[in-house]
């Protein structure tokens, strides 16, 4: 009986990892800029999911909960640090970023995390500002302003470095 429960819970964990780990890692990495820390944030997110065992109406709600938790953990991680990590180019190739994209990624990671999170949730994950405000626990107006400011900063940096 115990073995059956363990196999079932292990299968559940495997399913979670296959479904969400890359997504959560991507979001965390853009904030913390360090592979070990981002992996740690993902581990902590899943641990909280497994210990709190929240119930969800649907998969979208589950995904939004996980995103909220990993965003909070990642933001807390950079608060605990004394200084910001520089992006390691060696590490970038280990996480799937091509060499030719490393300059663009350095610019992305240089954006303040509050703008990066909103940009990722909107452009990469397709969330609207109302959904982003719920995930990040900010007002819809603030989410819209951060999105606009994030876009302006990104455009300014890319044009300044003449990358496109």
């Amino acid at each position: 009986m115990q073995q059956t429960v363990n196999i079932e819970s292990n299968n559940h964990i495997k399913l979670l990892i296959d479904k969400y780990s890359s997504l959560l890692f991507r979001i965390s990495y853009c904030v913390v800029c360090n592979k070990d820390d981002a992996e740690d944030a993902v581990q902590e997110t899943f641990l909280r999911y497994l210990t709190k065992a929240p119930t969800f109406i649907n998969e979208e709600q589950e995904k939004a909960w996980l995103l909220k938790v990993v965003a909070n953990i990642s933001r807390n991680m950079i608060k605990l640090r004394l200084r910001r990590n520089a992006v390691s180019l060696d590490e970038l190739s280990n996480i799937g970023v091509k060499d030719k994209d490393s300059e663009i990624f350095e610019l992305i990671s240089g954006l303040p995390s509050k703008y990066n999170l909103v940009l990722i949730l909107h452009y990469v994950e397709g969330y609207k500002t109302k959904e982003i405000s719920a995930i990040l626990n900010i007002s819809e107006d603030l989410a819209r302003k951060r999105l606009q400011k994030g876009r302006e900063l990104l455009k300014k940096e890319i044009e300044r470095c003449d990358l496109l």
């Binding site: 991507r26 581990q43 663009i104 990624f105 992305i108 876009r151 990104l154």
Partner: protein, 69 residues
């Protein structure tokens, strides 16, 4: 969508966790202890701040006691 946002999306989407890291994560989650380094660091930070606060209070009271004498 502008070319800038397209580039942003493309580069961010390329970030992923490799299979060996996923395996590693699976093993960490299925271990009995399962405490992450983040949680451990947070606990250390809380204990350190509390210890500094206690030391500061003790130092203040000792100095106050010395002044009265």
């Amino acid at each position: 969508m502008s070319s800038i946002t397209n580039e942003y999306i493309r580069v961010v989407k390329s970030i992923s966790l490799d299979e060996s890291s996923k395996e590693n994560l699976f093993h960490k989650l299925t271990e009995s202890s399962g405490t992450s380094k983040y949680e451990t660091k947070k606990q250390i930070a809380v204990v350190s701040v509390a210890a500094i606060a206690v030391a500061a209070c003790i130092s203040y009271f000792v100095r106050s006691g010395n002044k009265i004498r």
